[in-house]
Symmetry: C2
Subunit: 224 residues, 2 copies
Amino acid sequence: MSLTEENYLKALIYLSFLAPGIKEKKDVGTNELASYLKLKSSTVNEMLKRLKEKNLIHHEKYKKISLTNSGERTGLKIVRKHRLWETFLFTKLGFDWIEIHEVAEQLEHIKSEKLVEKIDMLLGYPNYDPHGDPIPDKCGKIPQRICKNLSTVERGKNCVVLAVRNTSRDFLNYLEDLNISIKTEIAIVGKIAFDNSIKIKIKNKQHSISNKVADNLLVDDSFN
Amino acid sequence: MSLTEENYLKALIYLSFLAPGIKEKKDVGTNELASYLKLKSSTVNEMLKRLKEKNLIHHEKYKKISLTNSGERTGLKIVRKHRLWETFLFTKLGFDWIEIHEVAEQLEHIKSEKLVEKIDMLLGYPNYDPHGDPIPDKCGKIPQRICKNLSTVERGKNCVVLAVRNTSRDFLNYLEDLNISIKTEIAIVGKIAFDNSIKIKIKNKQHSISNKVADNLLVDDSFN
DNA sequence: TATAATAGTTAGTATTACCTAACAATATAA
DNA sequence: TTATATTGTTAGGTAATACTAACTATTATA
Ligand SMILES: [Mn+2]
Ligand SMILES: [Mn+2]
Ligand SMILES: [Mn+2]
Ligand SMILES: [Mn+2]
């Protein structure tokens, strides 16, 4: 497995069921995959042939792409490694949650079963990475939990941030300005019908956030 | 810098001054480099053009190769990363000294200045890796110390193992059988003139080792 | 010093992973 | 249902990294 092939599988996993908002597995288009990977569709098309040859994907000419069991297993291992390395960088080396993704993007391709398992052990077998994303276990099983969009929480309720659905520098920097990170408690003070923006209170400081921001925060409000 | 280019620089560093037994910097031949990297000399020749283009080596047609200052600095950074990762795997993750090299061969190519420095800090700024090899500092400075070949220690003297000059599975496995690792104390009980083999005592157990084995162990006997 | 051995280079080919441009199939919409 | 837009494929090209085979320069030896 080349680094490039691994990245294709990871992308397919993301686009077919891991991306936020996907309820059930869906097939993926060539262009969709190409634009996600920032490649031309002709490039992707060539790789699809190789992945099919290796029995990692199902693909018929002019039809959509889906992962085989083998492809999904392999891809989930990369996701697992990525998220474990992010956790390692964050909790053991003091990287912040903005920096970790880029380095993990390299570390996820290190080939050593033992290394992954030792890092997992060192971290105490974490279930979620520093962005709140679930870490697949050795078998590819992804921990589930009840969580909802901050934008869907009712006025007057409190909630706790579980995950961010966007890990761009811009978004994470903005969250740091707002003092929002994983486990931050947020109170919904008011909702503006006009633009769906929300008034929230964090550590007794009030802020107003757009619907777009609220939509990228996953929270737990079940304790209300 | 590609992974491949980095490996060429590391190889040049090794062959020109880091390899055991080299007293002063020497230039490297194309074939010598090719055989060390297990590549054909024509392949190496092409890469030499690219490395010269990038000002990493000096090379005139039909002449020997030497590193520029820039090439040496860059190569030493890879050596530093390799040895720090080996130390990390050994001391923090419980890998044994036979396994670490292969994984470090991959980890040494991860591009993140911050990551290297954080790992260095986590390890407490070590000077030597688990094989006893010196770890270049951030500036490329290599710690020096007095040490000699076990084969040159006189009968009746005691010494402490500082480093192994060969990290092959076969050699390290044999050393484990003999109970020899870094810091092991060895007493020279006798020397056989016929084949230069040596009778040694480790933890009160006597063994006989060949000259070839003794030649691959660096020791300190200055405390006698 | 002439010749043979060794060392180093060049030419031509393959594979991976990318590209652009042109084309074909499918989906959408008038 | 035909025209158009979107989606997917093919052809042909490039750069990096490898190879084999053939060649040239340098070094060692007789
Ligand atoms: Mn990430
Ligand atoms: Mn990646
Ligand atoms: Mn090593
Ligand atoms: Mn390497």
